[in-house]
Amino acid sequence: MSIRLLFIITFFVINSCADWETKTDIIESGIINTERVILVEDFTGASCPNCPVGTAELENILEKYPSNVVVLGIHSRFLADPAKTGDPNLITKDANDIEKLLGNYVGKPEASINRRLYTGNNIRISRPDTWITYIDQELKREAEARLKIEKNYDDNSRELNIKITATSLIDILFPIHLHVAISESGIFTSQSGPSGVLDNYEQKHVLRKLLTPVGGELMTDGLTKDKSITKEYKFILPAETEKLWKANNCSIVAFISKNETEKVILQATEEKLK
């Protein structure tokens, strides 16, 4: 009898503990108006069953912030082999190099948000449903620079000329490194999913080529407010294959960062190639 009484009392005591606490309000995620553009690097792969969850999350984020978020799909070696024989292999050396540059990781899907260290020792963040909270935090920071892409693409020669202009919105007193990449969407492949292989899955924002070194190219040692600096690049698009290097699906992605040690990205931008 006494044991039963003890059980009942304990149950009511711990049950009532939940009411001791004052309710904490939810922090609603509203639209943030800013000039800042965030780079999200999505570490993904065609043979990664959990990765479509991350991709769907990013599409949702892009709908919310179409002008403030740029996504780059990093198909680095882990779980990125084609899900079915005959599919194009989306792994690139540049993707593997970015994976190495950003260091520690646990698995996939993971994303880096402006390459800022948000959790523990890892720049890459798991749990896709939390990515938007870090993007919101990143968007609330003061915009430091503006980036502009001007491009000229010739269909016949497949030559692409790019001019990137960075304009400082504050006095930047440290070196700025520029990164330029070509990404491609509309690549239809098989994709491992939580309940089997998905056919005809659209791979979006896939990093195809870095035009700058993986740590970026030194643009300037500093930039006073309202000053601009420009860099130009030339790239010949590889010959189109059945599924890859379709100029209509390609985009130019540019972003500026501190340096290889302090990898934080200051600003990003994206422009369709055609």
Binding site: I3, L6, F7, T10, F11, I14, N15, C17, A18, W20, E21, K23, T24, D25, I26, I27, E28, S29, C48, P49, N50, V53, A56, E57, N60, E63, K64, R77, F78, L79, T85, N96, K100, G103, N104, Y105, V106, G107, K108, T119, S126, R127, P128, D129, T130, I132, T133, D136, Q137, S192, G193, P194, S195, G196, V197
Partner: protein, 544 residues
Amino acid sequence: MINQKYYILILIVIFKSSLSYAQEGLSVWGGFQTNANLFLKDSAIGAINIPQYDKQIFGSETWINLNISYSGFLVGLRYDLFNNSNLLNPNSSYTANGLGRWFISKSVDKLDISAGYLYDQIGSGIIYRSFEERAQLLDNALLGFSLKYNMTDNWNVKGFAGKQKNLFSSYNSFIKGINLNGFYKKSDSASWSIAPGIGFVNRTYGDAIVEELARTSGSYLPIDQFSPSYNTNAATFYNTLYYKNFSWYLETSIKLDDIYYDPNAVRQLPKGQTNLGKFVKGPGHVYYSSFGYSGNKIGITAEAKRTDGFDFRAEPGLALNRGLVAFIPPMARVNTYRLTAYYTPATQFLSEGAFQLDVKYNINENWNFGINYSDIRDKDFNKQFYRELHTEITYKQPDHYQISFGVQRQEFNQELYFGKGGQPVVKTFTPFVEVLYDFNETNSLRVETQYMHNKQDIGSWIYVLAEYGISPHWLFELSDMYNTVPLKGKKSINYPTAGLVYTKGNSRFGLRFVKQVQGIVCSGGICRLEPAFSGFRASITTNF
């Protein structure tokens, strides 16, 4: 955080004072363990592309601990050193060193007082267990204090409070608990006795954690939003009933309204789409029971468990084996042979219903027979996750030889345990034989072999190991693992290992050349690579 040097200074002062004032009653003991890896790139088996193979080449882990007892005080120190270690995360490199543990304890009359990094558990650990598992670089000691009051020889109550250790720092939550343990036997001649207990644990998140949860909840659509909170409470009730040769353990644990990540929960997106994975808030429970019988010739153990929503961690964003406050007993046989242990079912915290039966029978002094059956399903016992039947027969001819042989049958849901969506259930059939032959009092040979017949996942494999021992110092080892029927366009590759161990007193020195097969472990919506290994492994362990 108080400087670690401060703690070391206090402990050294205590140690030195003890030495100065008296040698009598002073005991000093400790241990040393180091593992060193030399990484040799081998692209054929996938031993590439982590910093250790690319550039670091060498990695190691070292633990040195020292314990001192004097005049009722027990003081302990452990120094940990990790250099390019891949234990924490097999995909990367971890380098750090510092004071891994310190503690001091003292008994005053009926009161035991402890402070520092403490290991303990309540019941079987379902609502609270702090322990160290070096093979996984798992050390969730509680940095805090503990008080235990021994009311009688058989009844005690203890309380503890602190923060869970996270490598050389601690997680952003505070854990406290209280536990009553007892034992009752009517008289020395009574045929029955009971050992009941009750425990309560509260975990309080730090402000930053709750703010993060509030933001995450705010980013969900209203239908998926949860109310962020600081506190979670868990309680457990347990008892062991002993009657003659029988014992029966029963534990019921409940956890109220905790916020945890459910990788399979469906979350709504704004335009009507859905996605998998979200934080949810809700209660959880575990029912666990174990029945044992130990007779003259027969031993029987039967266990059953049901788990629902019991992912109890120091922080809500943690995954895999990090920050676990709870330890839920696994329900599958612990296999030791290389191939019978390849498919091991990880404990499911959110939904699991399982039972296990283990019978050991001594036919006579030469023959033993054992059979184990385990069955793991979802919480409603509908969907099969894992099933294993393991039989083993042993024949002993004392001082001459011993032969063990048997067969294992496994059904392993790789969709769940490896995260390989849409892949069929792995069905293995693994016969095994082990022979131990004593040539004389000092020389012996042990040979084991297993063949895993498997038409799914990694295909069929054979493993052979020979160990030659020259007692009391030397042990030589040679083994190979080979995929006889590779699948998915893979090549058949040999994974040889050769090694030697030298034992002298309390010290053991080992050196091995290892080629180890790669695997993937997926849990909690995250897939983690357990990379192949190629290179040398050296180890030294000693106690003093």
